[in-house]
Symmetry: C2
Subunit: 325 residues, 2 copies
């Protein structure tokens, strides 16, 4: 389904996260974007500034007339607000500022969903091979600042990708310690979603809640510092990462059952690469399949980590083969 | 998408549940089946005996040459075993026994999923109108003996229906009493799924677990007797139905988030009609939307109860417009 038209106009693609912003120029829709321009989101005052900087660095011989951006936000409105980045922008205003004909937006997990339809073995780490059913849905899921998800379904002639809110399902505890955590998080936020444990904000929330349960004083700030301390042997931080990993595995299993995702689970998001060796894939897989009589069903589902440096940009490249710009 | 070909051959459709078996003859694919032949499944020795009885009663001027059956089982095998009914049958053997050219099978919740694409207001009770998004997935869900589900997605030219296992997601407790129940059920079955609370078997499981927690002796057997006692004011039975209802609402909310089902929630299954006035729709809806920041998202989702006497047969009729027999 990928296009290899030699006359395809280059398109500037961008993925704006709460922490990092990435961009690339796609000259062959469907191919892996390379090179990838990556900067801290907070180093720019807005979308137009970031895109101008990306165009200047990447442009070279290419002159894109349009841009396609993945954003962590609903895209059925104009202007769009990115709460995490503190940015607000309109389609027309952004296009005018950059001298482009057109700027369009796609939800960031819908973009990652499109990546799952084409991403190859060289950009995947297969955690568990499974026995994929090519006629079944696929699930794109991943922890970054939050926990994002999308549903990918095969049709008679083409794939479809649907935005979902899988990160916001209630977290189901399996141990008394996990239930104590759920009680604290419910009391603080009104609801204990999977995201409240299994994400960057989850690591900070669980760290605070465990100190609250144990009557100790938290000393660290930020998911990265907590993960680093876990790797250095800090026992509380180690338990935080363990609970986050278990919660992610458990939620992934629930989401796979809910969507019938026998086509495969594709993990993205910035948190797992950040955690590196502190992330225990064995624990993740044990909790993914710990669903009683449905263990075999879940064991048949392939689990892949997307290792491309920018799966959302890859997904935008694939999206361009379906929706020409 | 419904066919009104005057030359469409009549098809015998049947829905084989663990408790009841239903059949009808479809002469106009896509229309609501009427009349519906309904019997106790256990009153027949097997599928061919049931279908023969249905043909005799319904046949009249119609001579179906094929049958399409919804079964609570995976349908990618031959022979098919229906554990709950204690039946085992092959496609060819069943066709031969009845003198039919062809007998085909569809998963029962996939059939209910097809019903959601066409069922009209006269066969729906709208519990909550919402603001449906016609481009978003729909969710078919319902408690009978177990808790079944299917995912329904709109495509560019047609609907698709996918078998899912939403009843087997882990149940997420919100109260200490619910957590006590989860602990008992995990100890007994290894995993506490939504189905272990929100189904016919769930009512019996919760009834036993509550007696275990409270150190009392259970006296009743069967979901129907427990529901009847709840209506007559028995406090333990009342709590059982309340916990089942809350668990169903909570699981429905999780499944709607997991699938992005802004097209609507369509409830089927035999349990809600059986519970009648003991089923508290207000409690169901409160738990459906009790997902923190995603309350508005869930409140936008229409909730319908399918009131047709046989939604799976209706779904098979719709399926015939997509896959001619």
């Amino acid at each position: 389904m990928s296009s290899t038209r030699p006359d395809a106009a280059p398109v500037l693609v961008a993925d704006i996260g709460g922490t990092n912003a990435r961009a690339a120029i796609v000259t062959r829709p469907g191919s892996a974007p390379d090179p990838v321009f990556k900067r801290r989101t907070r180093d720019f005052d807005g979308l137009a500034e970031f895109l101008a900087s990306a165009l200047e660095e990447l442009g070279g011989g290419h002159r894109p007339r349009s841009a396609l951006c993945a954003v962590a936000s609903p895209v059925d409105r104009d202007p769009i607000e990115l709460t995490n980045a503190g940015w607000r922008f309109s389609r027309a205003g952004t296009a005018d500022a950059l001298g482009l004909d057109r700027v369009e937006f796609v939800n960031d997990w819908v973009a990652q969903g499109w990546a799952t339809t084409q991403i190859g073995d060289d950009h995947l780490q297969t955690i568990h091979p499974g026995r994929p059913d090519p006629m079944a849905p696929r699930l794109a899921l991943g922890p970054g600042t939050g926990l994002g998800s999308a549903l990918v379904t095969p049709g008679s002639t083409d794939w479809q990708v649907f935005a979902t809110e899988g990160g916001h399902i209630s977290f189901a505890p399996r141990t008394a310690r996990e239930w104590a955590l759920v009680e604290r998080i419910q009391a603080r936020f009104g609801h204990c979603s999977a995201e409240r444990l299994a994400s960057g904000i989850g690591i900070e929330t669980v760290y605070a809640a465990l100190h609250d349960i144990d009557g100790t004083t938290p000393r660290r700030t930020g998911a990265e510092a907590i993960a680093q301390a876990a790797l250095e042997g800090d026992s509380v931080c180690g338990e935080v990462i363990e609970m986050m990993t278990a919660a992610l595995g458990s939620a992934a299993g629930d989401l796979a059952l809910a969507t019938g995702a026998r086509g495969g689970l594709y993990l993205g998001g910035g948190l797992i690469p950040l955690l590196s060796d502190a992330f225990d894939w064995g624990l993740f897989c044990r909790r993914f399949t710990a669903k009683g009589r449905f263990r075999d069903y879940l064991e048949s589902i392939p689990v892949h980590a997307m290792t491309h440096p920018a799966p959302a940009l890859y997904g935008l490249s694939v999206y361009l083969t379906h929706s020409r710009m």
